[in-house]
Structures are given as C-alpha cells and as structure tokens.
C-alpha cells in the first residue's frame, strides 16, 4: 500500500541566460518598476503543490495528468530521490523520509529514466539489480528467467542490451525493477515508445500481477493517456498543475463530472484553468 499525503516540492529555476544584462522588458517589471525577478518566490518552479494519493494492494491505481503536472516529481519523492518540502509519503506504513532503504526494498520502480548497461546482457542487467536488492545470484537468475517467460523475452536474456529496440529495453527495465518480487510496483509512463502489441502485453502482465495468483501487487501507473487508465485502472488520481484535482474509479469520475466520455471528464478536471480562459475569450 502506498500513501502520499499533501506533498509539495519547488525548485530554484535556472537563471535566464543572455538577457541578464539587457534592460528589463515591460512585463518583467512589477508595479513598482522593479524587476519581478527580485522576488525570490517568482524564481521558483512549483513542480508539485499538493498531491495526495492512496494506492491499495491488489489494485492498479492510475496517476493521470497532462505533461508537466508533477507526476514524475511525485514518484521521485516516493523513491526517496527528492526530499519533499512538505507532506509525507509512506509505503506499507514505512515512512519514506526516515527509512528510505526499507521502502526501496519493498518497491519496484520503473522510472522515467530507464537506461541499461549496453555492454551487459539483459540477464546481467537484471541480476545486477537483484544482487543490489540483496538476492543471491542463483535466486536472482531464476527470477529473471521466470519474469522473462512472462514478458516473452527469454530469447533476449543472453544478448547484450546495446542493440535492443525501445520495446526490448522497456521490458528489460521492467523485469529489472520487478526482480526482487516487490509488493509495490511504481511505473512512470511505462507505455512511452511501445507499439500496440507491446502495450497490450504490458497491460496483460499488470492485470495478472494484480490478481492473487500474481501476488496481489499494489501498482501505481502514471500516464497522460486516458485510454490506458480507462482500460486498466481500478482507481484514478487526476493531477494537474501540481495538485490532486480528483480521485476515484473511472465510473465515479464520470459521474462527478456528468460526462459519458472519459476524455471529456479528464479535460474538465485537469484543464479547468485553461477552459475558463477559453470561455472568457469567447
């Protein structure tokens, strides 16, 4: 079970280059005629303002939001790569901030970056992570074999990953993240760059991992594609502009917005500011 409560994170924006020495343009100046940049808060990018989500075991929870909504930052905070400015995160009741390594041992994360080691074979890539998770080499190897069968990549196992296609790389990275059989699985836009067949295969695998036979995993699946969510997720958390704007099952969200089409519902929920802008223009 994964719980995220009201996390927030802002970054110092990189100083704009080149224009630093030029005279300020009108829109750079505030009411007093000073450069707006002198306000320290204006130079910060608020990636996440207030995101909350609860993902339970045996369910697939979709984290749905447009590009730049703060999905990746939230998942990085969950993996203890970034320390949140506010809020708490926990996995199976273990606090991420105080016991990050215990959390990571219970979680398999397929992050935004999913680079492999090109001079190692797929098997070596996978077993390396198994060993880092504290598994014996034989156990990690056996697990790699099982997962490879499940994701139909047995033929890839002993090839060096240098020449892998996008889909082959994704599969290898996914198996690598699952090698220690974690109870919680976090996938950041896993279908990026996958073709239809590979996407279908991934969906099938995730559905199976949700079942008791597959281990009743708690799966968090971030995406900006609503069809994915509609087809796969038991519950959805909609994130926009760094905030959780809605959560519930697909049916509940449709009901909440009074729409019959999920795409319409998503646009209504996630792009509320832009839509009000459109209306006022009209």
């Amino acid at each position: 079970m994964i719980e995220v409560r009201s996390v927030a994170k802002s970054f110092a924006a990189p100083a704009p280059r080149g224009r630093r020495w030029l005279p300020a343009r009108a829109h750079d100046l505030d009411a007093g005629g000073h450069r707006a940049r002198s306000d320290p808060d204006a130079r910060r990018v608020h990636a996440v303002r207030d995101v909350s989500l609860v993902a339970r075991g045996g369910q697939i929870t979709g984290l749905l939001g447009p590009n730049g909504a703060g999905k990746t930052t939230t998942l990085r905070m969950l993996a203890a790569l970034i320390t949140p400015d506010a809020g708490t995160l926990s996995v199976d009741g273990i606090d991420v901030a105080t016991r990050p390594r215990e959390v990571l041992a219970r979680m398999g994360v397929l992050s935004d970056a999913r680079g492999l080691y090109p001079r190692l074979t797929a098997r070596e890539n996978i077993v390396y992570y198994g060993a880092l998770q504290g598994m014996e080499r034989d156990a990690a190897d056996a697990r790699a074999q099982d997962l490879a069968r499940m994701f139909e990549m047995t033929a890839l196992l002993d090839r060096r990953s240098a020449g892998f296609s996008q889909g082959e790389r994704m599969k290898t990275a996914l198996v690598r993240a699952l090698v220690h059989d974690p109870a919680n699985i976090v996938l950041d836009e896993p279908t990026n760059g996958l073709d239809v067949l590979a996407t279908r295969a991934l969906r099938e695998s995730l559905r199976w991992l949700r079942t008791p036979a597959g281990g009743s995993k708690c799966i968090v699946f971030s995406t900006h594609i609503m069809q994915e969510v509609e087809r796969l997720c038991d519950s959805v958390v909609v994130v926009a502009h760094g905030r959780t704007v809605a959560s519930g099952s697909v049916a509940e969200l449709l009901q909440q917005t009074g729409e019959s089409d999920f795409e319409e519902a998503f646009v209504k929920l996630a792009f509320v500011d832009e839509r009000s802008g459109e209306r006022s223009l009209a």
Partner: protein, 391 residues
C-alpha cells in the same frame, strides 16, 4: 537490511566486467600508454647506439685534402681515418642524407701555415641536422689539438717554456654515478608511466559517472536499497583497479623493454629490474587510487560523457604539467614537491632510477596525500549522486 559492504562488492564486480568488456578503449589505452614507454626507450637506445658507433669509427671527412698534408699527417697520428668529402656535401648535409660534419681546407693552406698567416679552416655542419651537429664538437676539439701542437712546436723552437702556455691545468671530475648520468636520458620514463595510469583511469571514471547519467541508468540505480557511499565506493574501486592494472602492465613492460636495448652503454646505465618495478608500483598505486576518485568527482557534475571529457582535461593537464617542474629542474628539489600529487610520484620514481633508496617518510607523505584526495573524491561523488540522478 544489509550492511554497505555487500553492495560494494556487487557494484565493484559489475563495473569491472563492464569496463573490461569495453575492448576498444582498453586496447587504445594499452597501445598508447603501456607500449609507449618501451618504444621510446627503444628509440633512445637506437640514437645512442648510432652516436656511439660513429665515435668509435674515428672518421673525419675533409674537403680539399690534397692541400693539407700536414693536417692529414696530424689526423692520422691521432688514429683517425681521413676521408675525402663528397663534392655535393653541402646539399647532402641540408637534406640530412649525409650525417658527418665536413672540414673545408682552403687551397693555400700549407703555404699560409708556413708563412705564419692564419689560414681559415671551416667545419661545415647543419644545425638543423642533429646528427651532424652532435659530431661537430668532436671535430672542433680535434682541430684545436692540431693548432695547439703547431703553437707549442713553434714556441718550443724559440725556447719558451711550455708551462707558460698553460698556466693552469683543467681536469674533469664527474660526481655522478653511471645511473645518475643515465637519468638524463631515462628521466622521461616515470612521466610515461604516470600518463599510462592517468589514461587508464580516465575512461572508466567518466563512464561510471557521467556515462551513467547520460545513459539514464543512474536514477534507477539509486532506486535500489543500497547506501550511496557503498555504490560510489564500488565504482571507485573498479576504476582504481583498472588504473592499477595499467600501472602494473606499464611498470613491468620496461623489463622486457631493456632486453632490446641496442646500446651497451645505455643498457649498463639503465638499471631497471624487478626491484625498481616494485618500487615504481609502491609509488604509483596510491596515485592510481587518487586519480580515479578525482576524475569521478570532476565527471559527476557533467551530464554527458563528452562534457565530462572537457572537464577532465583540466585534471589531465595538471597531472601532465606538474612533473615538468622536475624535468626542467626549476630550483632543484623542494620539500613541497613531495606534498604535490603527480610531482611527488615523478620525483620518487626518478630517485628509484638513480638507484637511490626511498625512505619511509618519502613514501608516506605522497601516500597520505593520495588517501586524503581519494576520500574527498568519493565523499563528493556520494554527496552529488542523488542530485545528479534527477537533473
């Protein structure tokens, strides 16, 4: 939850396998760094051997030999073989196809000598032609001897004491041992060995830091429940191992290298046996460890391998320039030399080649400097790692 030591070994082993599979890079390092030393040694020995053989030949080329029977007589008494120079010697000297300086005697040489006029004898060489230039001094001394003999004879005939001509006697006394003298020639060897160690560490250090960032494999790596310092220490261990391997190969490559020395003199002067090789390693291995850590610390700030190469150039430059303080002997040896990495190693290896013993203090000072550098580098990389992963 396991201690940090298990991930350390896991990472070390993986990084070693990864680096050793990078065959092309390894081959380049081996050929350019490890073979370079012996090749230079071979080239030096070839040069020395040819100079030696020319000195042994005792030949002198003269243009206009027929005009100077007296000079010929003198040269032959000095057991020199006198040869007539080829007609186009000037052109051939310029083209470097003729390597001996030529003595040019004017047509009225003999008559001028008898009259007491001072005939002008030229020694023609091309200073751009290094081999002919090297023999000029020898010929100059030889002709100087002829002048002195003539002067002494004519003064002696007039009853002047010989001691008046030479009120002071000059004798050379060289304090250098054979080995010390040889370091003038072999002094660049430590430099080559050190470059081999540096280039050995360079690629692996960049690959495990900036390369990892560029591939996008650093972020997933940090999502494993291993402590950051153990990940970094494992990476550092692998880079240091590669660099040390190159150091070992490079140091021992001089052992077979000296069998092919063509000059007996040089072979006698260049004392480099297993003892010297081991002393070289004692000096070099800590440097390899420190360079690995420093290069990783420089590279972790770079997003791409290429960017890291640019930053690493500064390290390469410093390590290549510092030993030059020794080579040019700027102000002799100062105490701070031992506290400066690269310069200290160069100083100590030069001492080994001179046949001097290394004291414990001399070994411990650079060793502790390297240990501090290593610790700082690993600490810095571990500190930067999380930030580097997400940017």
């Amino acid at each position: 939850m396991r201690s940090g030591l298990a991930p350390f070994w896991v990472v070390l082993k993986k990084e070693l396998v990864d680096a050793l599979r990078d065959r092309r890079t390894l081959a380049t390092v081996l050929v350019s760094s490890v073979l370079m030393g012996p090749l230079v040694l071979l080239a030096i020995s070839g040069l020395v051997a040819s100079l030696e053989s020319r000195a042994e030949q005792r030949e002198v080329y003269v243009a206009g030999l027929a005009h100077a029977p007296t000079l010929r007589n003198y040269l032959e008494r000095q057991t020199y073989t006198v040869k007539e120079a080829p007609a186009d010697f000037e052109a051939r000297l310029r083209r470097s196809t003729f390597t001996d300086p030529v003595v040019v005697v004017p047509a009225d040489f003999e008559a001028a000598l008898v009259r007491g006029d001072v005939p002008v004898v030229e020694i023609v060489s091309d200073s751009a032609n290094q081999r002919s230039e090297a023999s000029t001094g020898r010929i100059e001394r030889l002709l100087g001897g002829f002048s002195r003999e003539r002067a002494v004879l004519s003064l002696a005939l007039r009853g002047v004491s010989l001691q008046l001509l030479e009120p002071m006697q000059i004798e050379d006394r060289d304090l250098a041992s054979t080995q010390t003298r040889s370091t003038r020639i072999t002094g660049m060897l430590p430099y080559f060995v050190m470059m081999a160690v540096l280039y050995g560490a360079l690629n692996a250090a960049l690959d495990t830091t900036a390369g990892e960032r560029e591939r996008g494999s650093l972020e997933p790596l940090l999502m494993n429940p291993a402590e950051r310092w153990s990940l970094v220490a494992g990476k550092w261990g692998a880079v240091a191992c590669i660099s040390m391997l190159i150091a070992v190969l490079s140091c021992f490559s001089f052992l077979p290298g000296q069998w092919v020395l063509r000059s007996d003199t040089l072979a006698a002067m260049f004392q480099y046996g297993p003892r010297e090789a081991l002393l070289f390693l004692v000096v070099l291995l800590p440097l390899a460890a420190a360079l690995a850590a420093v290069l990783m610390a420089v590279a972790i700030r770079s997003r791409t391998f290429k960017e890291a190469q640019a930053s690493a150039t500064i390290v390469v430059l410093v390590v290549s320039l510092l030993p030059l303080v020794n080579l040019f002997e700027l102000g002799g040896e100062a105490p701070w030399h031992l506290w400066t990495p690269a310069l200290a190693q160069n100083t100590l290896m030069t001492r080994v080649l001179k046949g001097e013993d290394l004291g414990w203090v001399q070994i411990l000072i650079p060793l502790s400097v390297c240990a501090v550098l290593t610790a700082l580098g690993v600490w810095y990389v571990a500190r930067q790692l999380r930030q580097a992963a997400v940017k």
